[in-house]
Symmetry: C2
Subunit: 78 residues, 2 copies
DNA sequence: ATGTTGTACAACGGATGCGTTGTAATTGAA
DNA sequence: TTCAATTACAACGCATCCGTTGTACAACAT
């Protein structure tokens, strides 16, 4: 799996979960002390987030870290 | 969960898996195009690895990314 | 028209990832 | 003893993360 695809898939998965939760980029960002722009770049696959960043996002989305990480798109019970 | 503890737990989990596989830091590092020192710092919890780095480590250890990520120490079937 | 909300894109800059080199302590074998 | 293998730690430096600011555009409301 090449890097670019990996990051784009991660971003798409985060966006999907966020939309299911019905919250905006700004709301998610502020809940974890970040800016809307940071979340936008993350969802666009433009950054390669650190492990700690991912754990913060998981907390903001109120999901387990494993849900964010999964490479397949099987997020049925979000 | 604070950052330092999170990283130390991650490093310990990676070390545990690597030891169970019976390979050295140098072998793991070289299998993914890195140096022994990089793996040492990762296992020591001194760095906050990126998502892509984690996926490389998972490939090198031949485990799923979810196994690396889990916050509890329940790695029975490695 | 104006204002609000959600999202997107770009530039600046401090902080950090992490590859690399060098060094050293430990262990075990020859 | 000498040698190799493993692990650990520190410093240098380039690349990147990512916080921040500014801007823009579409959709919707007033």
């Amino acid at each position: 799996m090449e890097k670019e695809t990996l990051l784009k898939n991660l971003g798409a998965r985060i966006r999907e979960i966020r939309n299911k939760k019905g919250i905006s980029q700004k709301q998610l960002a502020h809940s974890i002390g970040k800016d809307q722009q940071s979340v936008q770049r993350l969802e666009a696959g433009n950054i390669n987030p650190t492990y700690y960043y991912l754990s913060e996002i998981a907390d903001g989305l109120e999901v387990d870290l494993e849900v964010l990480i999964k490479r397949d798109g099987a997020n049925s019970n979000v």
